[in-house]
Subunit: 165 residues, 4 copies
Amino acid sequence: MTNILVCYYSKSGTTEKMAEEIARGIEESENDVSADLKQVSDVDVSKLIDYDGLILGSPTYYGLPAAEIKKLLDESITHHGKLEWVVGGAFASSANPAGGNETTVLALLESLLIHGMIIKGMPKGDHYGPVAIGDPDDRELKQCRYYGRFLADLTDRVSKWNLKK
Amino acid sequence: MTNILVCYYSKSGTTEKMAEEIARGIEESENDVSADLKQVSDVDVSKLIDYDGLILGSPTYYGLPAAEIKKLLDESITHHGKLEWVVGGAFASSANPAGGNETTVLALLESLLIHGMIIKGMPKGDHYGPVAIGDPDDRELKQCRYYGRFLADLTDRVSKWNLKK
Amino acid sequence: MTNILVCYYSKSGTTEKMAEEIARGIEESENDVSADLKQVSDVDVSKLIDYDGLILGSPTYYGLPAAEIKKLLDESITHHGKLEWVVGGAFASSANPAGGNETTVLALLESLLIHGMIIKGMPKGDHYGPVAIGDPDDRELKQCRYYGRFLADLTDRVSKWNLKK
Amino acid sequence: MTNILVCYYSKSGTTEKMAEEIARGIEESENDVSADLKQVSDVDVSKLIDYDGLILGSPTYYGLPAAEIKKLLDESITHHGKLEWVVGGAFASSANPAGGNETTVLALLESLLIHGMIIKGMPKGDHYGPVAIGDPDDRELKQCRYYGRFLADLTDRVSKWNLKK
């Protein structure tokens, strides 16, 4: 079965709400895809290779993901090359519009590209990945849900290629 | 007298409104700083070296500045090295939040850094440079005005170093 | 048949050499994939929707793609939404190491993500897309060839999903 | 006396060599500027406000600075607003050309801009900040030395404005 890890860091609960909505979107995909929703502190880096998709979320701290998320990425070097062809995605929350949320999402995507992952943008809405300004409103939550759904579809297709073996 | 060029491309008028407000902010600086407000099509690239500051604005087209602005930057290579120590700034408009406006501002700042310009961020609000989503609202216009004012102050100080000669 | 457009701008011939090598890599893929190699001035924007993959290359001008490439991207808005699920890629040449080539590649990838395209990084070598410093050496040309080959494989698989219709 | 902190994280010693050369460049400035050279683990975040300049260096881990450096930036939020007008700079080492070193430097600069710091690019060489590929060669070390020298001059001038008070 296709399995996606939604891994996030959240202090105020904003990023967690987004993560939950993305997981919901994944679960409601027409394909047989399940979501594992985890705080970054609960993620065992050695299990990353068990997933077909990896979606990372973080609050915006100085235009970049929180150190806790970066630490996971740094540790993932022990699996370098083994995460190629995994589908990757990213999301971020911030206090302000133009407060560094796009650069946070792109920083995460850059890391996932270096693992050799597959990334997809969105022609509508938040192009690089979902973003929330403060407590997520309806539009933002819808965006998260949609992102989960389409990444589930993408991951399901890619996982059938059996390229990770 | 310290002189700043506010150069923009605008189709719908949104970026123009932002440019006007930035110019207003410059003019109301306590220092003796004037603003030249120009559409990019009216800018003579050979005059760029006459300015102490250069602020570029563009709508967000595919996460980057419009080709018209990029063309000016490409042509400015004839003055490469001569724009060092000029103060640089950037602003952008976009249809959507997280629609590529931060990456547009950063793209412009990257170009200005390669000219050796001096850049400053803002600890409050739109950190990299002002951004408007759709028709600029009060908060966004205030941000532009504030940006103009503090870049005027910065440019006034830097221009007194007489480094360009 | 799966078809990839390799579209580039080149003045000194460096980016052209890279483009040729990427096209060679595409053609030598085990799958039935062909490459269309074109200077950006020869590309008809209305034909973009005929391709399953789009790889853009440019020299590094002020840390970003040349205005000629940006113009094509700006004009492609007439097909916005219709290029979703196309596979995208990017490459760049520059005079210096750390001369803005990574930011040029990323700028192109950002634009392609906004079209909703699928992007993949490389766990080895030039992670975001191939880069050459000055006249491309053997390592750099090999990198281009490898990039063409693996993007051909990716595009072949994705094109079988028939998602563009 | 004008004082610049060169703060780095280094495992293999590459980034440390760069940091030492930047500090050397600072010390040989014609102005009265001193450099504090410190591993990030030895930096007390509450002392950041005592410096007129802050130059951060890191190896490239997944296209971004190491988590150790990011942690310092996250903790620096306790001084948000108080680091405005400080001069900022960044440098990075990586195993490969186009291995994510430019994105590492830019990630650091983005963070420093959000603190409201002043940044300057270089019209020659490594435009955004010095980069080394593997063990730094002569050109790369010279670049670091030059960067230290010109940031010392910039910091000396800016510190005389007495804006931090």
